[in-house]
């Protein structure tokens, strides 16, 4: 029989086989024909498609009704072969009625050969299949069955590990596998002499621990057969002559472990190994001599590993001049590389650099001093691919956390203009990061502040605060506004109040999240500052409204109460407002009550000092009023001193 030829001939030839098998009743003949079919389709995608098109699947499934294990195993092997090759082949297979029930039933078969063939088929069927988890997790019994199979036979291990890894995509999957006891059977596999099983085990651990601290903690408590901690055993596997995929997978796993206390507490060796082994391994794979895929994975792992880990950021920065290695991510030539890979590479580069410069001033300096980096960054922010521009913006955010950089290189480059464009894009994440970055650009010591404000950025920020559907965007917008108002001019403050409107404050203060309330109070504090402006701004906002805010907010958590008292202290600094407060018996009573709580002492003291206005005329009178309400006058205020305005709030982050 010819293997090559046009599709029609293929189909014609194959059809005769199908007829033969249909008409045959002799098991031996059937087996031989199935083997013949297997030989024909092996290695030929065309033959597989042709076979599927003539409906071989139901015919073969029909022949498996008898308990003939040899036929069953052979049929499963044919199906495995059919599901490989063109990606459409699998879809055709999955459309066949009862195929899933068939393979699942075969997995419970007593016969070893059938079981292995069924596992191989299921693995091939689920490999790289988007709905694979739905198929597996619909069968909770099958999961437990697989877990019991793992220790039974080494031949079962690879396919089962591979199926679990393919299907473990979110915390629901992770927790289901965890609850089914998958962790109990994995430790012995990590010491398997078969490197493919070790790799598959590490991959499954990685899939289980991804963004799941509970499982990561459970994994860290595991020990191998000799009683060694599994983390230590995995760390021992890092040897640079092993394949890059394997090494990178281990490093990825360590990025999930990094937040565990066990890494930093008990054996100091583990933390040291992160510096001396995991990070160097990642930096090694960032070098241009590696494949693009490996460079992408390595840089992403550096980002995951070092974000919020100050010590590791420093260590990674020092390792083999990682910064300059990562800068090469932006110089790759587009020849012969697909644009998606290049985008992923640049994204990974920016992500890693964002993590490394998150807290360390020296790395920021070195990065900004490195040739052309600002150009790369601008290109990145400009990139039509939002993933790249988002990563670039995150990197810019890290860089703006430095006072010096805000006043030097970042000011010179006018890079904020690009940020302003990003702020107006529809991508929520982009809005989020650009608002966070504007928080820093808009601080009073930032020379860009005036330029940015003249672009009417406040209007945009207020719009985001009032109308964005995303809480993070609203929160960052609120934060930015708080920073804008810090030490701002009377006109700007009035403008912001006009734009926001009183209702917006109402709405923000009635939010369920105390963080929102805190920041709104902070915004009000910044608005109600500067002795001359206080009375007018309070008038604009409404005295009653403000007093009510203070009244209401001081009944909440200690943090919110403190903010509200600070706001009251600022208000008391205005001459007119001072009278208004001192005339409000209810509030003064409330202040007296609050002053009995230890946690409020400092804030109350500020309030009283400002209410007293010791160096202004009428201080004695004011003192009397307060004494009427049993409010204690701080000892140092008994004589003449200057008033205290509680410091305004700003976020530099």
């Amino acid at each position: 029989m010819t293997v090559f030829g046009d599709v029609d001939t293929l189909i014609a030839n194959n059809e005769t086989l199908v007829i033969e098998i249909r008409n045959s009743t002799n098991p031996q003949t059937i087996l031989e024909i199935i083997r013949q079919i297997h030989d024909i389709i092996t290695g030929s995608s065309r033959q597989k498609s042709a076979m599927l098109s003539i409906g071989i699947v139901p015919v073969l499934m029909n022949h498996c009704t008898v308990e003939n294990y040899e036929v069953l195993a052979e049929v499963l092997d044919v199906f495995t072969s059919l599901s490989k090759g063109a990606s459409s082949n699998r879809d055709v297979l999955l459309e066949c009625d009862g195929i899933l029930e068939f393979v699942i039933k075969a997995n419970y078969c007593e016969n070893l050969r059938v079981k292995m063939a069924a596992l191989r088929f299921l693995r091939a069927l689920l490999h790289d299949f988007p709905s694979a988890p739905d198929i597996l997790f619909a069968e909770s019994e099958l999961i437990s069955h697989f877990i019991t199979l793992i220790p039974e036979h080494t031949e079962f291990q690879l396919p089962i590990l591979s199926i679990f890894t393919t299907c473990c995509k979110n915390d629901l999957h992770q927790n289901t596998l965890f609850a089914a006891g998958v962790l109990d059977v994995l430790p012995p596999l990590i010491s398997s002499p078969n490197q493919r099983i070790v790799f598959a085990t590490v991959s499954l651990f990685e899939a289980l621990c991804r963004d799941n601290l509970v499982i990561a903690q459970a994994v860290s408590n595991l020990t191998d057969t000799q009683g060694n901690s599994i983390i230590e055993v995995i760390e021992e596997l890092i040897k640079w002559n092993k394949p890059a995929d394997f090494l990178l997978k281990i490093c990825q796993l360590f990025a999930h472990f990094v937040q565990l206390p066990v890494i930093w507490d008990s054996p100091p060796d583990l933390a040291f190994k992160l510096y001396s082994l995991v990070i160097p391994t990642l930096v090694q794979h960032c070098k241009p001599t590696n494949s693009i895929e490996h460079r992408i994975a390595a840089a992403n792992s550096i980002a995951d590993l070092t974000t919020r880990q100050l010590n590791l950021q420093r260590g990674a920065f020092e390792t083999e001049h990682a910064m300059s290695i990562l800068c090469k991510y932006f110089t790759i030539s587009t020849n012969g590389t697909d644009s998606q890979s290049i985008n992923e590479l640049r994204r990974a580069g920016f992500r890693a650099l964002a993590a490394l410069t998150e807290n360390d001033e020296e790395s920021r300096t070195q990065l900004l001093e490195s040739e052309k980096f600002l150009t790369y960054l601008l290109d990145g922010l400009n990139d039509p691919c939002s993933a790249v521009s988002l990563a670039a913006a995150t990197c810019l955010h890290s860089l703006t956390r430095s006072v010096t950089k805000l006043r030097t290189s970042l000011y010179d480059s006018s890079i904020w203009k690009q940020l302003l464009l990003m702020l107006q894009m529809s991508d929520i994440q982009l809005q989020c990061v650009s608002l966070a970055t504007f928080c820093n650009f808009l601080l009073p010591f930032s020379p860009c502040r005036q330029d940015i404000l003249s672009e009417n950025v406040v209007k945009i920020i207020v719009e985001k605060l009032k109308s964005s559907e995303c809480r993070e965007v609203r929160y960052n917008a609120l934060f930015s506004l708080m920073n804008v108002t810090y030490q701002s001019s009377r006109e700007l403050k009035m403008h912001i109040i006009d734009l926001l409107g009183i209702d917006a404050f109402h709405e923000l203060l009635s939010d369920s999240d105390p963080e929102f309330i805190m920041k709104t109070l902070g915004l009000l504090r910044n608005l109600i500052s500067g002795t001359k402006d206080i009375d007018d701004i309070c008038l604009k906002l409404g005295d009653e409204f403000l007093l009510k805010i203070v009244f209401d907010s001081t009944k909440q958590s200690p943090e919110v109460t403190e903010q509200a008292l600070c706001l009251l202290a600022n208000m008391a600094d205005g001459t007119r407002m001072n009278d208004v407060i001192l005339c409000n018996d209810q509030l003064l009573h409330h202040l007296k009550d609050l002053s009995t709580q230890e946690c409020n002492k400092a804030a109350i003291s500020n309030c009283v000092t400002n209410l007293l206005q010791n160096c202004e005329p009428g201080a004695e009178q004011r003192k009397k009023v307060m004494q009427q309400f049993d409010i204690l006058i701080p000892f140092d205020q008994c004589s003449v001193t200057a008033s205290v305005t509680s410091p305004p709030l700003s976020r530099f982050d």
Binding site: K239, W240, S276, T281, E318, E320, H321
Partner: protein, 454 residues
């Protein structure tokens, strides 16, 4: 290991204690450390370039007054009053500013500064001609990428202000930095380079020929046939000829030397007569095998491949050795009873002796032959020859040696290659590696031929 240190710098002093080398510098000066420790040779030795990768570490015990310390490498001609890196052909990493200096008084920003309790390492990769430094186990990256290897280079530590104390580790203790990973990496890179080399010939057929000739040479007839069929090539030798050699191989390797000699004589007449030394070896082997109880002097009658299988390789038990020897001594019969093992040993021994005398005049390796003969004769003197001084004669390897000699002689006689090309290839590679070593090519250190062959 006791390290000898000779300090070149006049104003510096060095103390050495067991497993510990401490240099304490009261004044300005440089310390050039020997890289190869030897109790006899007290001079400073340069780093051998053939090592491929060289690494040492220092621990800063005290940074002294100002911590103006430098670690690195330098040629012998540098001024010992200056820190490594400042002079020509020297590289240094300085603790006070963290800069690297490459044959220049001006440093480049390189890494962090270092001070008391820091462990600083210096590594030289002779393959890439690069120099890197480490601090507390972290590789700080390449400091110099084109080291001049024309001149001999020395590990160097420069200390400039009073009170600076360092301790050096040249491998006598574990390094803080994981140097094994670098070795793994270089090996991997080197293998990739080798893989990437363009081969001017078609590799697969060459490999097939190598495998085929190996199988033929060692008489693996069936494997050779199957391989030839699978790869579609000719064997270069008649299948029957291979089978014949295989038969002889079977006899020799199972200790049935009488059959082997008989078969060889029948199949390759004149071969053994032309190679008396080979015959002598075979006879010696036969003597040993008779003692083992595996062989006998009885010659087979037929050789058409249906010869009886050789017996198991268990040597005979010699519980009653003394009695047997007594018997042999008192008996002294001329008539040989070939069924009696003792008679056979005596006869075989006599034959061997005669043969030795015969070839004494013609053979080149007389002393070897004599030694061999004495060795095998002495086996009879032990009550348990298997645990005696000469017990190695019972090892399977001894049969293999004899077989290889016989097989080679047969192949020679048939006009075929005596040594399979793959062996020649291995010898060439081995020699090539030796040449690399003697010429100081570092890549050699990362090739383990034994492991590859394994």
């Amino acid at each position: 290991m006791n390290s000898m240190v000779e300090c070149i710098g006049e104003t510096s002093s060095a103390q050495s204690s067991k497993n510990r080398l401490v240099s304490h510098l009261p004044h300005l000066g440089n310390l050039v450390l020997p890289s190869v420790w030897s109790a006899k040779d007290k001079t400073n030795h340069p780093i051998p370039t053939a090592c491929g990768l060289y690494y040492f570490e220092i621990t800063v015990i005290s940074k002294g007054r100002d911590g103006f310390m430098g670690v690195g490498i330098s040629s012998q001609s540098i001024s010992l009053n200056r820190l490594p890196g400042w002079d020509r052909v020297s590289v240094g990493y300085h603790g006070d500013d963290g800069h690297s200096f490459v044959s220049s008084g001006t440093g480049q920003p390189y890494g962090p500064t270092f001070t008391t309790n820091d462990v600083i390492g210096c590594g030289i990769n002779f393959l890439e001609r690069t120099c890197f430094f480490t601090k507390n186990g972290i590789n700080l990256g390449v400091a110099c990428s084109d080291i001049d290897l024309e001149k001999a280079i020395y590990p160097t530590i420069g200390l400039q202000t009073p009170g600076e104390i360092i301790e050096a580790n040249f491998g006598q203790e574990d390094f803080v930095f994981d140097i094994d990973q670098v070795i793994c990496e270089i090996t991997k890179k080197l293998n990739q380079q080798i893989e990437a080399i363009h081969r001017p010939f078609e590799m697969q057929s060459t490999l097939n020929q190598l495998v085929s000739s190996y199988l033929v040479c060692h008489g693996h007839a069936e494997a050779a046939n199957a391989f030839a069929q699978a790869t579609g090539q000719s064997l270069g030798e008649e299948a029957t000829s291979i089978s014949n050699r295989q038969l002889i191989q079977k006899y020799v390797l199972s200790g049935n030397i009488s059959h082997a000699i008989f078969t060889t004589k029948k199949l390759y007449p004149g071969l053994l007569e032309k190679n008396p030394s080979l015959l002598f070896q075979l006879k010696c082997r036969q003597f040993v095998e008779i003692i083992s109880g595996v062989d006998s002097l009885q010659e087979p009658e037929e050789i058409d491949g249906l010869l009886p299988e050789a017996r198991c390789v268990e040597p005979m038990h010699t519980d009653d050795e003394d009695e047997v020897i007594d018997h042999a001594m008192t008996n002294g019969v001329e008539e040989v009873n070939l069924k009696d093992p003792l008679e056979q040993i005596i006869t075989a021994g006599r034959e061997l002796r005669l043969l030795y005398e015969d070839i004494k005049t013609s053979s080149d390796n007389n002393s070897e032959n004599e030694q061999l003969m004495h060795d095998v004769f002495s086996l009879v003197a032990y009550s348990d020859p298997k645990s005696s001084r000469v017990s190695h004669h019972f090892l399977q390897e001894r049969r293999e040696i004899v077989y290889n000699a016989l097989n080679g002689a047969i192949l020679d006689a048939c006009g075929l290659q005596r040594t399979p090309p793959i062996h020649i290839l291995l010898s060439h590679v081995s020699e090539c590696l030796d040449q690399m070593t003697s010429n100081g090519l570092g890549a050699r250190s990362f090739v383990q031929l034994d492991q590859i062959v394994k």
